[in-house]
């Protein structure tokens, strides 16, 4: 979900803005991006707006998880990889460009009376140490913990911040953000995690406050909402980007795109 009117205005603005600066080159070609499903809203918005900037360039987005984005950039199956986590030491041959920050929202079914959990409580729910909702002030019902596949940046972020690496007991391992949201929405006893940008304004699930802090642009930016990570472009070091791809990266990481990113629910970082 993205706010209709204002975003459209911003897109128009940016078109007029860039028309002055990049008038010199009319690029054409196809840019394939692949990776993080958390970045779907952000990418969708950016791609659509970029069409106005460079009508000759088609940017494609495939949402297959951050791991796939990094592998794709390494193997050359896409031009730009997308990852909702930072590169690890053993992930070589590629480098990252951060486009935004994003909170990881802890979501439960709207029927669930629980509305605030501490990080420790969340970890206990995830590892199965807490197996019944009544233990954290909810109904007497079995906890159903839903999460993401191993390649997910969201999962990586969630597990490392909550300290539950390799200890989570998943009832379901979904391969995208949307699925987790749908899974939690359809099961009254479910708890899961998903990109804040994807669930903001979505009333099919309830976003919990963590240690009393509600996730928002401000709390993510100032760090009070702890469960957060970066949205990154992953670029192969050895193959040069095409002109079209380079133009897209430059534009997306510039301030011109900030409003668009914010409109899509993430936190822009460009200064």
């Amino acid at each position: 979900g993205c706010g209709g009117d204002t975003t459209t205005d911003t897109a128009d603005d940016s078109t007029t803005d860039t028309a002055d600066t990049t008038e010199t080159t009319e690029l054409s070609g196809t840019v394939n991006t692949n990776g993080s499903t958390s970045m779907e809203d952000v990418m969708g918005t950016l791609i659509e707006a970029f069409k106005e900037v460079q009508p000759g360039v088609t940017v494609n987005y495939t949402g297959s998880g951050s791991g796939a984005g990094i592998t794709g950039a390494q193997e050359g199956t896409c031009d730009i990889g997308l990852a909702s986590r930072d590169l690890k030491e053993d992930e070589t041959g590629v480098s990252q460009i951060t486009v935004a920050k994003d909170g990881i929202a802890i979501i439960v079914n709207p029927e669930n009376p629980v509305s605030d959990l501490s990080i420790e409580q969340i970890a206990a729910l995830a590892t199965g140490a807490t197996a019944n909702w009544s233990e954290v002030g909810g109904n007497d019902a079995e906890v159903v913990f839903m999460g993401r596949e191993a390649g997910s940046g969201t999962r990586d972020g969630f597990e490392s911040i909550t300290g539950t690496e390799e200890a989570c007991v998943y009832q379901n391992e979904y391969t995208s953000t949307g699925e987790v949201v749908a899974g939690v929405a359809s099961n009254p006893n479910a708890i899961g995690y998903a990109s804040l940008s994807a669930v903001e304004g979505d009333d099919t699930v309830k976003i919990l406050t963590v240690g009393g802090v509600a996730p928002s642009e401000e709390t993510v930016l100032d760090g009070t909402y702890e469960i957060q990570r970066n949205f990154n472009f992953i670029i192969n070091d050895s193959t040069a980007l095409s002109d079209a791809a380079q133009a897209f990266v430059d534009w997306a990481t510039s301030t011109e795109a900030s409003d668009l990113i914010a409109g899509a629910g993430a936190v822009p970082v460009a200064e």
Binding site: G1, T30, N32, N34, N60, Y174, E179
Partner: protein, 288 residues
């Protein structure tokens, strides 16, 4: 000489089996009606002209499947253009030319094996070979080439089947009149088996349209409009999802169930049309 009626035991046997037959047939039909009905009821209301003729927009928060339709057409056309000549040619070679029976038998076994290989395996090999090794990236072209490998055995087999139904006596008669082999094939064999070839072709289209696992990892899941015939580089590098992959993505990853059902309804209609076309063509050409 009086007439003895059927013994009770025989009558019971008859009744029980008859009941089971009707029961199972009814079950199958009920399943089918449920599936079709459910898809149409949930899907058709969302199929609008707008839905069919636009591309999705994040800014306006709308979804349209025009890109998926054009991607599907791209894949069908490119795949068919490659497999038709190749598959029919190979079938002709195997049934009419190849001398070494053992070789033919082993190739037939190989094609048969290939038809049984799960498409996820084709996806895996296609990704490794076309996307990475040949550097096509995840693109519609890589997807089409993967489908070429996946469907060529089907074309070979259906063509071979229909070539084999051409009576040997036609061939003998033609050769007996002093025709050469190609002349015989062109004037007698191919005309008599054309219906089978066309039907096989339509069924191959069906298979391509219905394919998802092999495309998911080779052609990408993009939803935006491609201009793939704009330039050679676009033709090579456009990526995106076909209708089936889009269905999967909307249903699984985006939880846009109405969109998924609408695509499902469209796919059902397509399947219906393809099946009808296959049986019509088969019947019409047979009559001729």
């Amino acid at each position: 000489m009086t007439m003895q009626p059927l013994s009770g035991r025989r009558r019971a046997y008859d009744r029980v089996l008859r009941f089971l037959l009707y029961f199972c047939a009814t079950l199958t039909c009920a399943l089918l009606i449920f599936i079709i009905g459910y898809i149409f009821v949930r899907g058709l209301p969302h199929v609008t002209w707008e839905f069919l003729s636009t591309e999705p927009s994040y800014i306006n928060d709308t979804i349209g499947i025009l890109p998926n339709i054009t991607n599907t057409i791209y894949i069908v056309v490119v795949t068919l253009i490659i497999i038709l000549p190749l598959g029919v040619g190979a079938a002709v070679y195997l049934t009419e030319y190849a001398k070494n029976q053992k070789l033919v038998a082993s190739i037939e076994f190989a094609t048969e094996t290939l038809t049984g290989i799960p498409s996820i395996i084709f996806g895996l090999v296609g990704m490794l070979f076309f996307c990475e090794l040949l550097g096509l990236q995840a693109s519609l072209l890589a997807g089409s080439l993967t489908l070429v490998i996946a469907t060529i055995p089907t074309i070979i087999r259906t063509t071979q089947e229909s070539l084999k139904t051409v009576p040997q006596s036609y061939r003998e008669a033609s050769l007996g009149l002093g025709s050469g082999k190609w002349h015989m094939i062109r004037t007698v064999v191919l005309p008599s088996s054309i219906d089978g070839i066309v039907t096989g072709c339509i069924l191959a289209i069906g298979r391509i349209v219905g394919e998802s696992a092999a495309l998911l990892f080779t052609a990408g899941m993009g939803m935006s409009m491609n201009d793939f015939f704009g330039s050679v580089s676009n033709f090579m590098h456009s990526s995106g999802s076909s209708l089936t992959v889009a269905l999967y993505v909307y249903a699984r990853e985006r939880a846009e169930f109405d969109v998924a059902f609408a695509i499902a309804a469209i796919l059902m209609l397509l399947t219906l049309i393809i099946n009808l076309a296959a049986s019509l063509v088969g019947r019409k050409l047979k009559k001729k």
